[in-house]
Amino acid sequence: MAPSSDPLRLAGESFASRLLVGSAGYPNQQVLLDALETSGAEIVTVSIRRMRLDGGRESLAELLGSRWRLLPNTAGCATVRDAVLTAELAREALGTSWIKLEIIGDRETLYPDVEQLLAATETLVREGFVVLPYCNDDLVTCLKLADRGAAAVMPLGSPIGSGGGIANPSAIERIAARSSVPVILDAGIGTASDAALAMELGCAAVLTNTAIAKAGNPPLMARAMRAAVEAGRAAHLAGRIPKRNHAEPSSPQLGLVGA
């Protein structure tokens, strides 16, 4: 199926690519640009950080902003207050009301703080933000986030940066089946097959950063991710065969030679 006939719909907008990518941790700027290009992604995440006041003013937004839709995140925030202020600053700096909402509840695992995530989602939606929360692979949390107005839910496959893949595929499949808003698999993707699996399970899109940025050849991995997301999406739409415990011959059983 041609990508243009099956767009990702997010907060009333359409995107040809179902792959979102991060911009952190690439070996250098040229590799970042090459990887973003081959990924086919239209949405690229960025963080919001204090400006260095001692010079060194190169702006990532200036480099990427004219070519890609920048999606700011609240990475590193641990409270509703900090996350809301970061979102408000991001809106002012980038002129976008879209925010990838991240509120970390545990520094070791980088698991989200569900309680604060729900509260911050409510506040930001009220302020007119399009909220895309990074959350646990928990169905009830995802349903509550959608109830509070999240434009999508972004459950983790496994911990951020771990490359652990999708630890609980049945949980992700259930969320994708029940969610009223698009499900974007965020965090934990290690290689292309993880991205394909996410899409086969019914996710609307995949967001990955480390798996591409830290790959031996980031632009090549970006191309692999793009193909995997397209393949997984097509497989999901096509409908897989049920799994069986016994063999089922695929060739006709009649007219065997010598029978």
Binding site: T45, R49, R50, M51, L53, S59, L60, N73, A93, L94
Partner: protein
């Protein structure tokens, strides 16, 4: 006055003056400022007065996941 978590030795009179002191021109794109947890829109940088107890955040987008 605290700017990005550090004590600012000399208080600045306005947001615009503070930015200018740090070499950030008013036309610099992708910069945002908050004073005491409230965003100050770009068109109010000139007119927003600062006091000695204010805490200012000056941010811009960076690489992120």
């Amino acid at each position: 006055m605290k700017v990005n978590g550090a004590i600012e030795p000399e208080p600045a009179a306005t947001v615009a003056a503070l930015l200018e002191r740090h070499g950030i021109a008013a036309w610099t794109k992708f910069v945002a400022v908050a004073v005491n947890g409230v965003v100050v829109r770009r068109d109010a940088w000139e007119t927003t007065a600062l006091g000695p107890d204010d805490e200012i955040e000056i941010i811009r987008p960076l690489e992120g996941g």
